[in-house]
Amino acid sequence: MDKDSKLATLVEYGYDPVVAQVALEQTSYGDLNVAIDYIYKNFGEGSLDKKEVITEPTPLTSQPTQQLNTPTKPKRQISTSSSKRLKSSITVSAGSDDCYEDQEDSEEEYYQDVDDYEFDIALVDAFPKANTVIQSKDIINTALAEINNISSITETTPSAATLLLCYFQWNPNKLLERYYEDPERVVSAAGIKKIDQFFTKTSVPGQMCSVCADDLDSNNCSYLSCKHYSCDDCWNQYLLIKLLEGGATSIPCMGVKCPSVIPDEFIHKVAPNLYNKYLERLAQTYVDQNPNMRWCPAVGCGNALKADSQSESTAQCSCGFKICFRCKQESHFPADCEQMKNWKKKCEDDSETANWISSNTQDCPKCQSAIEKNGGCNHMTCIKCKHEFCWICLGNWIGHSNCNSYKKEENSNKSELKKNLERYLFYFHRYNTHEQSKKFETKLRQTAIETIVSFQNKTDKRWIDIKFVETSTEILIQCRRTLKYTYVYGYYMGEGTEKNLFEYLQNDLEKTTEQLSFLLSQANSDLKIFDLKEMTNLASVKLKHLLEGVEEGFIN
């Protein structure tokens, strides 16, 4: 038996071609049984019914229309031991007729089935991890609570406590530790020397405003203990500008080179209109400076996320957005932060160029440099190698006659550069497609609840079943996000067996995700709860396999 026929035999047995290929390679195309053993050892423990014919999932488009018109909804039998099967063989055997049986058997039995249905893995992954979500309106109160806490422990005024906290980046433990070591040094380092004293509406004879040179009287003069006198109007304008600039907490006095920091009570008294702005900025600084906190980057969501420990790498907001704590972007597993940085940069640098080059240039057939045609004539002369060729057929111009007959395009004359661009575009296109899909499906999250409510009214389906739509949506979004970033991961992955397996699992997850997506988009009019449960489970199993593979390596 030669290599190809061995592979063909294994495929015939029902093994996935990629898996079979790997097994054969790893066993140096030896005995078939050795290869099969290899598959069992590495890809699954349980026994595989070798005669089982695994069919590809039915195409999405054909399935629903048929079912919509069928009076008795066919129920799909699924094997609960799917996870025990070979990973690679987890595909829905929807094609074979004997998989269907009448649902009208008994509704009760149907529910029985659903209840007995065991999830192979916990679905917790779809829901928030151990992080606290602080709603946008509560952020300032959280910050103020922390300030009051420090203020009472260190026996300082709240404004001094604010400055202390800012100085220590809102790390109360470090603050207290240093404070007890040497209170005076900490206090002066944080810029709160004597600034607890300030004077408002106090006139100082013979002084004028240091900014607008107006006369000062007891109605408009305010100053800190550093005695840089100014009128309230000038303070207001100065504070407004500083607050708009964003520096909320350590606004220095207006005096030339004066290091005193303006306390918040001073703002409250002198510029009461700006106090809310000040609080807003304080909340901003509170989250920005806190190493354990991040803003939720989702559009229009002002919530803050607080990780319980710094080792936590992802967090999920109550709005559903999942972020990477390290780079503050959307959670991008399996790609790592470094890869994402390179990828983003590449996208910025290359997308435009790449699109332009691929649509506007051809490569010189001789030296492979990209050429833009800037005139109407198709007689081209390469500026680099002086090669003369026809723009249309890329044939040599000398002796060039008829190029109007169709020839199959040979890619061999494409330059390395262009091949690289094509490779990049391939990944980028898929990355982008999943991003787009995810955007649409995120909207499903909002409609999920409506679906649930409308369904409960319309049908006698149970709340717990319909509630499942929510879970499915979460899983779907998670799959989409992961798929999106697998293209970044894949782009940076070296060629080889690992990559073949990775792409196999990726492809597998992609198919299931599309099916799940389809079922959910139909949920409004035709909720197939059983199919949905099955598909959701399948998707989460496949997602888990892929993620595990990335984390632990695909081979062994």
Partner: protein, 159 residues
């Protein structure tokens, strides 16, 4: 808060006439119709004695905006002025003239001019603004001194 800038600039003008450091000059420019333009001042900064900048009075234009004194004035030497912290356009790079760093509304014209005088002989190599001067300043001191002295001659003391 319209009016603050004009009021403050008048006050600056009054104070300057009352008292200003020796060798300096600073006056608002005149518009074509003969009226005073308080928002553009023409100033002169003498090089400090016993430095390579001595015997020169360096012309500087100060441009104020309506936002003054919340925002700093723009200070400009003539184009291609030879100094490591002056941009090729002539704009001076100095922390007290930077709104985001050390500018304070209470900084007066006098403070600014004295600050720039100080900068002349104490360039800040950490924020270079022009390539040739910073290069010579760090690599070829002799040539740097020669260039500065040459420049001083082209801006002689008045009378």
């Amino acid at each position: 808060m319209a009016g603050i800038s004009s009021a403050r600039l008048s006050e600056e003008r009054k104070n300057w006439r009352k008292d200003h450091p020796y060798g300096f000059y600073a006056r608002p420019t005149t518009n074509t119709d003969g009226s005073l333009n308080l928002f553009v001042w023409s100033c002169g900064i003498p090089g400090k004695k016993d430095t390579i900048w001595e015997n020169g009075v360096y012309p500087l234009t100060m441009e104020f905006t309506e936002d003054y004194p919340s925002k700093p004035p723009k200070c400009r030497f003539p184009k291609d002025f030879f100094h490591p912290n002056v941009y090729p356009s002539g704009t001076v790079c100095l922390s007290i003239l930077n709104e985001e760093s050390d500018w304070k509304p209470s900084i007066t014209i006098k403070t600014v001019l004295l600050g720039i005088q100080d900068l002349l002989d104490n360039p800040n190599p950490k924020s270079p603004a022009q390539q040739l001067p910073i290069h010579l300043f760090l690599q070829d001191k002799d040539e740097y001194v020669k260039k500065v002295r040459q420049q001083a001659k082209s801006y002689p003391l008045a009378e």
